[in-house]
């Protein structure tokens, strides 16, 4: 696995460089925030819209003057699914797992995973907060969601 020398981000998968598939947007600040346990979003300096950290331009006004802001990390489950199928080998033994679209308080939608920490089964409209966790696939802490 080829990793970014500064951030340790994975840069390729099975020999295919990510940058050839999709040039990396300038997201260092996001990963620095993740190290500190902060979920960071983008905010448009021109019109004030909150944006997903992966956006390169404001979707309301097209400005590329985007600043980094700290999100509360709190939101609700907009949709989710419970995966019961081994699509790629590294999820073997980890089923079921929950993928979700989370609507953050700032109005930004974030795709991620819900970690089941207790007997409650996650469902749409439940409240969540963000935690940071690394695992065997991604070596640095990255955002995951848990029920509050």
């Amino acid at each position: 696995m080829e990793l970014d020398p500064d951030l340790g981000l994975q840069l390729s998968i099975e020999g295919i460089p990510y940058a050839r598939v999709h040039p990396q947007p300038d997201v260092r600040a996001f990963w620095e925030g993740a190290e500190k346990g902060e979920l960071r979003l983008r905010k448009c300096k021109a019109c004030g819209a909150f944006l997903h950290p992966g956006k390169i331009a404001c979707t309301k006004c097209l400005s590329q003057e985007l600043e980094w802001v700290k999100s509360s990390g709190k939101g609700t489950i907009y949709s989710l699914c419970k995966v019961n199928y081994v699509f790629t080998p590294e999820v073997e033994g980890k089923l079921p797992y929950f993928l979700a679209l989370i609507k953050l308080e700032e109005g930004v939608y974030f795709f991620g995973i819900i970690l089941k920490q207790d007997a409650r089964e996650p469902s749409i409209e439940m409240s969540v907060k963000t935690v940071f966790d690394s695992d065997n696939f991604f070596e640095r802490p990255y955002p995951k969601f848990v029920l509050v």
Partner: protein, 394 residues
């Protein structure tokens, strides 16, 4: 249509072209336009349209890949008709072939990279059915759909498939609602039988020739007319879909249970001057049962959120329903080889209107509709066809 058995997409495309040209009584030397759609997963060369032009040694006046995801092949009909109507080309070949010999072989590298944001989404291990499941679960939350209601689609699709010579499920027998809801859960809410057969038939090719009305009526006594079309390109990754934008249609930025197809179909109906009640035979993308339900709504056959009732009322029931839906068995039972399954929908709809359906023939069909989408309900394209009984084209 070509049959699989280890042929490559290019071989299938050429075979389909020869059959279409024979059918249209044209020679390759008369082709002056060539459109393909999303490149095959079985052949990653760039610009498949140019590859095929080179393979066949033709130099069309107009040619492109039309890649609003897999819906592009449906849009090719509209673009072709614009060129013919403008008098700029007369015999346009639309061709698509796929032979995803091992469609799941590159699932690790290909699937998440294709469907989601590389830098943010891939670490969570998404895959196409899981992404569609996000749409389906939201749809169930918003409209209260039960699994038995969704199961009507795979059950009815299968009835057409067992009578269709090219359907991948043709020898698997009919299924019941109980079969569907008792099949194992892959990812909530999808049971195995709520999912399309992906990667089978192993290979297929399809070719369509679009020409002028004058030419068509000289070449055949059963022309099929392009009456209306519309499309919308909305998102590339489902995970990017929801967000802030004032660009129309604004409602799309705050929902994942309506596709661009809702607007594409309105454009098509307006152009054709007809309503959904006039449609006799239709094909809508049904990668999963709930997704087929969303497309029935977006194609205008029933209001948003009412597809469950529409299905329960028997409107698409084989033989008795008012709408002959997915007469080749749909993605659910005909199958989806990889990219470009909508080609099969176009050919089947046209052949139904022409009276030479490969499987069960719909009687007295006058108007047909195709609503295809590709990606993860990313881009949609609608086309309305009609035959002479529909009054021809205006």
């Amino acid at each position: 249509m070509g049959k699989g058995e280890n042929k490559t997409p290019a071989q299938l495309a050429v075979e389909a072209t020869r059959r279409a040209l024979d059918n249209a009584k044209l020679s390759k030397d008369e082709i002056d336009g060539l459109f393909t759609s999303r490149p095959p997963q079985g052949d990653h060369r760039a610009q498949m349209n140019v590859v095929l032009a080179q393979t066949m040694k033709i130099a069309p006046k107009f040619s492109s890949e039309l890649t609003i995801h897999g819906a592009g092949i449906v849009s090719a009909l509209g673009y072709a008709s614009l060129l013919v109507s403008a008098g700029l080309a007369e015999n346009i070949l639309i061709v698509n072939a796929e032979a995803a010999l091992d469609p799941m072989g590159d699932r690790r590298t290909g699937n998440a990279l294709m469907e989601t944001n590389v830098w943010f989404d891939v670490p969570y291990r998404p895959f196409t059915p899981a992404l569609y499941a996000l749409i389906a679960n939201r749809y169930i939350h918003e409209y209260g759909v039960k699994p038995e209601q969704a199961a009507v689609l795979p059950v009815q699709n299968r009835k057409w498939a067992v009578r269709h010579p090219y359907a991948s499920m043709k020898d698997k027998g009919e299924i019941t609602v109980d079969d569907v809801v008792n099949s194992r859960t892959i990812v909530s809410p999808f049971h195995l039988l709520d999912c399309a057969v992906f990667g089978r038939p192993v290979g297929r090719g399809g070719a369509i020739v679009v020409t002028s009305m004058e030419r068509a009526t000289k070449l055949t006594d059963r022309p099929v007319y392009i009456l209306g079309f519309g499309e919308r390109a909305v998102h590339d990754n489902l995970t990017d879909r929801l967000g802030e934008s004032n660009s129309p249609p604004k409602e799309l930025w705050s929902t994942i249970t309506t596709s661009g197809g809702a607007f594409a179909s309105r454009d098509a109906y307006r152009m054709a001057g007809i309503k959904s009640d006039d449609i006799d035979v239709a094909h809508v993308s049904d990668q999963f049962s709930y997704i087929g339900m969303i497309n029935l709504e977006d194609a205008g056959f029933c209001p948003k959120g009412k597809a469950a009732k529409y299905l329960e009322e028997g409107n698409i029931d084989f033989g008795s329903g008012r709408l002959a839906l997915n007469t080749n068995g749909g993605f659910l039972s005909f199958g989806q080889t990889g990219a470009g399954g909508c080609t099969d929908f176009i050919i089947e709809t046209a052949r139904q209107l022409r009276g030479d359906a490969p499987g069960q023939q719909v009687k007295d069909a006058r108007y047909g509709l195709i609503l295809g989408h590709g990606g993860v309900m990313s881009c949609s394209s609608c086309c309305i066809l009609g035959n002479d009984s529909a009054g021809g084209a205006s």
